[in-house]
Structure formats: structure tokens, C-alpha cells
Symmetry: C2
């Protein structure tokens, strides 16, 4: 299953000066599995992040948000246990991990950001993680991005990484990132876990703006199952070891490169969505606002009936139009809505297009990647959301996970 792009070639993942990554098998939940990642950052690295808006945000998210304002020197990520729904004890355990790593690296615990992903509501096995830290620290090196992408996987079937080079007026900069996620995906300000680093030198407020903008064009525009995770975090790092971005043009170029890498990573999560057999772009145009276009796009992308029709390659137009109809757009005139499957006009003015033949729709939907495009014809705004289908395997994976 999955509609993955090719797995990242380690040779294609340029290192970022000032960032070293180390991996270990700590046995957090299962033995013989890379489940611990340590990232060491050069002094002076600027850091920005956006985090889940789930009210049950996990203990590591609480700490990471708190430590974000400090001169951060390291990240520590474990899989196998999300340390979510664990209350004050969970925060204490996350802090113990920060303390242990700080001691090993010679910095303060408040300079470490912790991240966890995995099962919710079980106590974090601090001892195993702390015991695994020396191996991860010993493994620290710049050319370790592909391995790091593997170390943060949970139900993911492939590692997710992307990179871009961007020319600034002061020289060429590198942007490299990794992400993980496959289920519980409906990021709200961030995704499960995404880390993007650049060697460019950029001030922190500018980096925070780029991070937010990149999230909105990437992780905040994807959905697998509509479930917003308790642990979502998207972090951008700028080590300043490379060229400086100060002019508007350079800042725009860097922002574009970061957003591009984030978008590739976000799409990779959907492509690897639990049980996914189709990668679907939902594009809504002609709305009065981007917000109402997003509402319609998410109504389509979340509808179990639409998603099972995607799985069956069944051009069941009625299900898509019904979802548009209940999306909650006040005053929407159904008789003005046009609908396309890829380039095929399937519905015109809210009804089946006279020239449309079902074979055309079926042909579009049989492809592993296609676009559902609706024109609301009531304004000039647009929005895009990426999603996948709902298959037998989605149920299988989620009925069996934990067991």
C-alpha cells in the first residue's frame, strides 16, 4: 500500500553545517529498533516552532514550548511512547531526559527540547531512554539525516526526508528536513513531528514567521483521518554557519525553500497515510475566503464516504457534492458549483455535466494520484488540502495497533 515517493537516498540529503545527529536503539517499546534521536546544535542556532493546539498536549510539547525561548543546544526525540495524557508525572519524566542529555553535552536542561511520539497514556520509560543516550551521543555526526529520518518512524512505512539548495545574495544555503507521521494526522498548527534545518543565518523573529508560513502551506494542509495529535510539533533551525539572509529578497528565497521542503515532507506523510492507496489533492477555488475554501476541502477530505469511494476508484460524485453541501458555507449556492476530477468536468452548476461519461471519472480515479477540484463561483479565494483514501488496511492497522 501507500503512495510513497522513493525512499530518500542518503547521498541526496545534504548535511547542514552546525547540525549533528545521533541515533540509538533504546528499546523504548520494542527491541532492535532505532527509536532514539539526539540532535546537537551549534551555539547561536536560531530556533522556531509551531505546536499542536490539542488541549491534551503532551508533556514533551509543554516542555519544548517552555524551552524554545532559550539558546537551544539540542533536541531529543523518542518513538514508542508519546508521553501524552500523563499529567505532571509526564512532565517530570520528560525533564529527566533533558537533564541526562544536558549532562552528556555540557549544557543546561532548559537548552534541550524533548519530543515523543508513539502510544498515548503510558508512562515514559525514562531509564531505557537515559540508558540509550550515550550511544546516540557517540553516534553524533553531520551526515546522519537519513538515519535520523528512520529513527523517528512509528507506523510510517518509509522514512521521510527532503532537501533544497537556495541561492542567497551572500552565497548558497542548504535546507534539509525530516518528518514522521502516518496516522492521527490532521495537524492543527504543526504535524506529528517535522524538523527542518538550514545553515543560513537568520534572525529568530524572521525564522518564526517563515516557520508559521511554511506550516500553513504544508503540515496544516494535510489530513489522513482528521485526528489532531497531542504531540504535533514542527521545528525550524537556522545554525548561521552559512550565508546570512538579511535582505527581503534573501528572506523570501529562504522562506520559499523552507516551505518547499516542508511541503514535500507533509505530502510524504499523506502518501504514507495509514492504509493509503491513493494520494489526492483537493483544490477549492472561487470561494469568498481561503477559510471557507479550506472548510469545503476538509469536508471532502474527511468524509469516510468520499474516502471509501477514492479507495474503490468509484467516481461517486454525489458523495463529493454532498460533502460540499454540508461543509457549512453559509449561503452557498449549490447550483453554481462546478466539479472536476483531474481535467474532466464532471458536474456543472451543481448537476452532472451533460457531456460527462462515468468511464472518464473512473479513469481519473483509478490513478494513484489525482486532483478533486471544485469551483464555488462566488469569490476569488482558493485553498488546497492533501489527503488519502480510506481502505481496509486503515481499519486493520488501527484495530490492531497496540495489540
Amino acid at each position: 500500500m501507500a503512495v510513497n515517493l522513493r525512499a530518500p537516498d542518503p547521498a541526496q540529503l545534504p548535511a547542514v553545517a552546525g547540525v549533528e545527529l545521533g541515533i540509538a536503539m533504546a528499546g523504548v517499546r520494542k527491541a532492535n529498533r532505532k527509536d532514539l534521536l539526539v540532535v546537537r546544535l551549534a551555539p547561536g542556532t536560531a530556533i522556531a516552532g509551531v505546536f499542536t493546539r490539542n488541549r491534551f498536549c503532551a508533556a514533551p510539547v509543554v516542555l519544548a514550548k517552555k524551552h524554545l525561548g532559550n539558546p537551544v543546544r539540542a533536541l531529543v526525540v523518542n518513538t514508542g511512547n508519546a508521553n501524552a495524557g500523563t499529567g505532571a508525572d509526564g512532565v517530570k519524566r520528560a525533564l529527566q531526559v533533558c537533564k541526562a542529555l544536558a549532562a552528556a553535552l555540557g549544557c543546561r536542561p532548559a537548552q534541550v527540547l524533548p519530543f515523543s511520539t508513539g502510544v498515548i497514556m503510558e508512562p515514559l520509560p525514562v531509564e531505557r531512554i537515559v540508558a540509550g543516550l550515550p550511544a546516540a551521543v557517540a553516534d553524533l555526526r553531520a551526515a546522519n539525516w537519513a538515519s535520523a529520518a528512520e529513527a523517528i518512524m512509528t507506523t510510517d512505512t518509509v522514512a521521510k526526508a527532503a532537501s533544497a539548495r537556495v541561492k542567497l545574495s551572500t552565497g548558497p544555503a542548504t535546507v534539509t528536513g525530516i518528518a514522521k507521521g502516518s496516522g492521527m494526522i490532521r495537524p492543527d498548527m504543526a504535524t506529528m513531528l517535522g524538523f527542518v534545518a538550514t545553515d543560513a543565518k537568520v534572525a529568530r523573529p524572521a525564522l518564526q514567521r517563515m516557520t508559521r508560513a511554511a506550516a500553513d502551506q504544508s503540515f496544516n494542509a494535510i489530513t489522513v483521518d482528521g485526528d489532531t495529535s497531542t504531540n504535533d510539533a514542527f521545528i525550524c533551525l537556522a545554525t548561521g554557519k552559512g550565508p546570512a539572509a538579511r535582505s527581503k529578497k534573501d528572506l523570501d528565497a529562504l522562506a520559499g525553500a523552507i516551505a518547499g521542503v516542508a511541503q514535500t515532507l507533509a505530502q510524504a506523510i499523506v502518501r504514507d497515510g495509514e492504509g493509503a492507496t491513493k494520494f489526492v489533492t483537493v483544490r477549492i477555488e472561487g470561494g469568498r475566503s481561503a477559510a471557507e475554501c479550506r472548510k469545503v476541502a476538509y469536508a471532502i477530505a474527511h468524509s469516510p464516504l468520499v474516502k471509501t469511494a477514492f479507495f474503490a476508484s468509484d467516481p461517486n460524485l454525489g458523495r463529493i457534492l454532498a460533502a460540499i453541501g454540508y461543509a457549512g458555507v453559509a449561503g452557498l449556492d449549490a447550483t453554481k458549483v462546478d466539479l472536476y476530477l483531474d481535467e474532466v468536468l464532471v458536474a456543472k452548476g451543481g448537476s452532472r455535466h451533460a457531456a460527462y461519461r462515468e468511464e472518464q471519472g473512473a479513469a481519473a480515479m483509478k490513478k494513484p494520484e489525482f486532483t478533486v477540484r471544485a469551483l464555488l463561483n462566488r469569490g476569488r479565494a482558493a485553498a488546497t488540502v492533501w489527503t488519502c483514501d480510506l481502505s481496509f488496511d486503515y481499519v486493520k492497522i488501527n484495530a490492531e495497533y497496540r495489540s
Copy 2:
């Protein structure tokens, strides 16, 4: 599959004086299947209804809403074709059916309410329906409710009917109803199709109030897949052939009986939800408003991760708490939330309850019927929603429907 109650015993479905029902096999979509229902109403019958708020509301809904203000004499219901997403031509076809039935019964077309359910976006086969009307009219009789419940089924696996007797000060009244629905269930002001009739005499404005209140306690509190249909309609009829309800006490008693029948019918739809193996009551208490309690209840009831955990009888508390956390309740304090599975306290103050053992949660969730109860502990409001699990069969049914 399905968590159905026993199929209604025809002998247990009291007739309602002033209501006659006739069934036919019109071959709307498939041959040899009851797919056409005609209901003849005594002159003077009061009628009230609530309809889908889907902006793509179907052609018959457009006409039914328009004709509702007239002295209605008949309903006509077909399955196999929803006549939705069919534009002006769909309305014309629905009107042709009204005209044919009006001619057969000797009334005006505007005194007939049409209803359709089935595949969306295909032209209504008017000729076949009109050709089936004489048989349905010839079949008209009062003791035909159970057969009528069968005639309106689509993906339903059982017929859905319920009845109650209510003592008014002026004598005993009967309330009998039928409903259909199994998928595309997230009624918004009404369900797929529900019809409840009483012989009580009640003024139309009072009946409309009772209908709205009954809908809110029944069809508007259920969800199978979160998909609001284009054809939802819930209709209440009061023939006035029995005792009159005029005093506040009588009106309250009648309203209670109508709401009770509607609730049984609504729950029957969830019990027969596509692929359902569990019938789950989601009860949220201690909210600041019923609206925020409903938000939380629906977040749980719509989460594919929670629903697959129901299917697996897996007490995956984290998925339920995560859904509460992303439901969008502003300022919700996660550390105050308590969670019960039936009578078992599983989470206290947002974390796993110390005394809770997973076997207890698993035992509760293995039952075909159980309650998820969350206390928000921030107010006095409450809300209840009924839902079912998400199983392999849900995907199978919806990937294969139409094919």
C-alpha cells in the same frame, strides 16, 4: 454484523386512525424489491417536518418543503434513487410523481409530499415510479406499517419501526413511526427518512414544535460516518381521528411519546450503521453549554481512530482523550477531565486513573453496547450522542456500493 434490536413484529405496530399505507415493487433500481410507498392521510391531518441543511438538498426535499404548508393528503417515497444533485430537471421529475399520485387519489399535486432515497446524481426513473403507483394505491390499508418500514430500506439490514401509546386527558392516543438509514448518517435537523404519525388532534404550530424537539433528542443526536445526507427528512403527522391534545399536560405527554418513538428509531439507525458491531452512547457532562458538550461528543463519535478502537474492543484511552482535546472547546482544562467506560473510571484529571486496570476497560468495550462518559468539570450542561464503530465492513459496504 449490526447491533440491531429485534425486527419489529407487525402485530406490535398499532395502526394510526387516518393513515393508510400502500407498498409496491416499482423496479426503481432493482427488480423484485419493495421500493415504493404511498401514504394516504385523512383530511384535516396536521403535518410538520424538519429537513436536511445540506446545501445540495435533493429535489424532493425542495418540493416537500414547498408543499408542507398545504393541506397535505399523501406522501410518496421511493428508494433506489435519491433524485439529488439533479437540478431543475430533478424537481420537474419529482413533481411528475406528485401529479400522478394526486390524479390517482383525487387531490392536488401540491397536496403530495415526495421523498426519495438511494443513489445520488442519477435521473429519477419517473416512468417506472408512476407505473408502480396503481399497485401501491391498491395496497393502501391502515395495518401496513411493518411492510412500509421494509419498503423504505436501502443499505439497511433490518426494518425500523417503533410505537407508543400515550394517555391524554381526552383518551388514549397512538404514536407509530418508521425510519430508514444506515450510511451517510449525521443528520442535521433530521435524518435520512423518518415518519411518525399519531391519531391525536393537535394544532400544527404545536406539532411543529414537538417535531423539532423530537429531532433534537433523536435524529440530530446520532452519527454513523459524519456525512450529512442531501435527503434527510423527518415528518410528523397528526390525523386528529383520536383524542385532542390541548392542555399543556396533554401536549407534553404527546411530545414525550413522539420524542420517545423518534429516539428508538434514531438509535435503530445507528444500531444498523454500515458495518456496525458496537452501539456506543457518548455522554458528555459538566460542560458550560450543551453546544460544547455536543462538540466533544461528536469529536469522539467521528474520530476514525476512536471508532476503529471500538471495533477492536481496545480501550485506547489516548485516542478518546485526544479527540476531547481537539474538539475545539476554548479554554478546556485537560487536567480536569474524567473519563468513564461504562461504570469504570479510566482517567481522572486528564491522566490514567491510578486504580484502573486495562482488563476493566477491555471488558467494558467487548460488550456490543457500552457508554463512553466524559466529565469536563467546568459547568452543568450535558449532551448525548449515539454512534457505532468503524469496521472492515464499513469500508467494504461503501467501496462496493453502486458497483
